[in-house]
Amino acid sequence: MLKKIGLEKLNEFVSALIEKGTLFAPVKGDAGVDFQEIKNAGDVTLDFYNTLQSPKCVFFPQTDDMVRYRLKKETTDIEEISLDFEPRIAFGIRPCDVKSFEIMDKLFTRGGIVDPYWESRRKNTTIMGYAFDAVDPADFYGAFGIHAADTTGSDVFMVKGEKNLLLKAITEKGEKLLSSVDTLEDALEEDRKYFEERLKKGAELETRTLSLEGVAGKLRDMFGSPYWEKVAAPCLNCGVCTFVCPTCHCFDIQDETLFGEGTRRKIWDSCMFTDFTLEASGHNPRTQKSQRLRQRVNHKFSYYVTNFEVTSCVGCGRCTRSCPVNIDILTVVEEAVESV
């Protein structure tokens, strides 16, 4: 099913989507474009190359409340946050980000215990992928076989033309969504042609790349290498890279209380922070920034591969672009592998 809507009617369409469920879409802010829950259709933008932060917040918000509690003298009143989330729509997701959801699924929903917060939101969400037609020097999604107009994993895939936004239902879920919105028109043959062309063009766009062959093993082998100290030297040990990353998933659980009332919440954490592995005894197995940088790289390019047979990176380039000192994870991995 291929539908279309005139760009001038985008607001109308977005309004219709808001009716269908909680809508997450790109919004332009001071520092760039980012995903937000949309209240006003007019906030949504499709004029962006990449978002600052990844759309992982749709399923895994930075702060995820689990239980609210009120401490009483003898007892504690507890109110669990319901897992029955409203249907959600993730709008304008880059193909590489779509891929990240699948990667994260492996951790959160496989291997025994399921994380219900991720799983429930994931089940309830319709993903509307969005094609791109340019490449940033920091990007390297090509290394993972993803391209700028890859429809894999999307429920609906969108291509923006000069006048229209074209929408193709990829899955049943997508079809259901598109057919329920009556502001859409059926696409014409020329639209279909344009759509296909764009997919093709997307596939032809070249990013930086890297052969993943043997990377996991090599990284594992060079665990003790002095390379890590060298490559981590400029690292500031801030957490930007992990926070903007679509596949970083480390979190903390905190009880935040005020005046006897509080919330137990999952909060994003970062393996780049000193206190991440600090134990109550004062012992810290990772005191050096080289150890922490190594952990981040290895977790993505080695350990994850061992456990889930997929690299936990989609080459979106966010960490590289956001890094205050321009550390580029691709270069780090490349040079690591070369150094073996």
Partner: protein, 284 residues
């Protein structure tokens, strides 16, 4: 600029060869031309990797405190960076005799993220380093483009509530990645107060209030120490203009205590010092 790069390499080579320095903190190549990186040359063979261009904005003094006291370090500094050195020396985090200061008399730096020039609205932008052993070029003599506090005018003139709107919007954006504090050469505390659990000064989850607690306290900790290099704002992924707040605090310190941070090795940090004749009016 190429001259500076060449002289930087030349001096780095000389210092490493002679053993006057064990490390040269300068700039190196990044993943593309517009994105150089901080670089620590430790051997003569590393010197070739050194670059200098208008994107080498990093305040390399940030890395000084990572080396054990007594390490002989040569460091490339631009104007504000040299002021950082002075503060670090005042605070005895580095010793003057351990540092060879390679001053860079150049200031047309460009923020590679925004493509905008770094000027007195984003940094202190003195033309020349305040303290150096070797100046890699001629002193910059031209241009005097006003006070680094000029940029505050608009904020200062805002109605209180409007200013609150401004800052509350800015601080709401913070994702607590701590790039600001980690990029800051003065924020060498490890752990930071915000990481403490007893007490937990602010919730770990970002919110306007917890972010406010973090940032305001950090502004206070930097009072009289911030040297206006602007690294915090450049590091911030969500573009909070933290440097403006720092500038304001510096301005107030200057007005109240008549001292500009990082200008003289003889100064004491204003917040760990006092004068009996400080006026009570500063409290009004």
């Amino acid at each position: 600029m190429k001259d500076i790069e060449n002289r930087l390499k030349q001096e780095a080579k000389r210092l490493l060869e002679s053993g006057e320095a064990e490390v040269v903190l300068a700039y190196g190549r990044g993943y593309d031309e517009k994105h150089p990186m901080p670089y620590a040359a430790k051997a003569v063979s590393d010197v070739d990797n050194i670059v200098f261009d208008e994107y080498c904005t990093f305040n390399m003094t940030r890395y000084l405190t990572e080396y054990p006291l007594g390490t002989k370090i040569a460091i490339a500094v631009k104007s504000c960076d040299s002021r950082t050195l002075i503060v670090l020396m005042q605070e005895e985090k580095v010793k003057r005799e351990d540092i060879v200061i390679l001053g860079i008399p150049y200031r047309d730096m460009i923020d590679s993220k925004t493509g905008k020039a770094i000027d007195n609205s984003t940094a202190c932008n003195l033309p020349n380093p305040v303290l150096y052993d070797i100046l890699l070029g001629d002193e910059v003599t031209e241009r005097d483009d006003g006070s680094p506090y000029d940029v505050l005018k608009e904020l200062e003139e805002m109605e209180l509530d409007v200013r609150w709107e401004f800052w509350s919007k800015e601080f709401s954006k913070c994702i607590r990645c701590y790039a600001c504090r980690k990029a800051c050469p003065m924020c060498y505390c490890d752990p930071c107060f915000i990481d403490q659990s007893q007490p937990r000064w602010a919730d770990k989850s970002p919110s306007l209030e917890s972010n406010l607690m973090f940032h305001l306290t950090r502004f206070y900790h930097l009072a009289g120490r911030c040297i206006d290099c602007g690294e915090c704002s450049r590091a911030c992924p969500v573009d909070i203009p933290l440097h403006l707040f720092h500038k304001k605090v510096s301005k107030e310190c200057e007005e109240m205590f008549d001292q500009v941070s990082g200008m003289s090795l003889d100064d004491k940090q204003v917040m760990v010092d006092f004068k009996m004749e400080d006026s009570d009016e500063i409290l009004l």
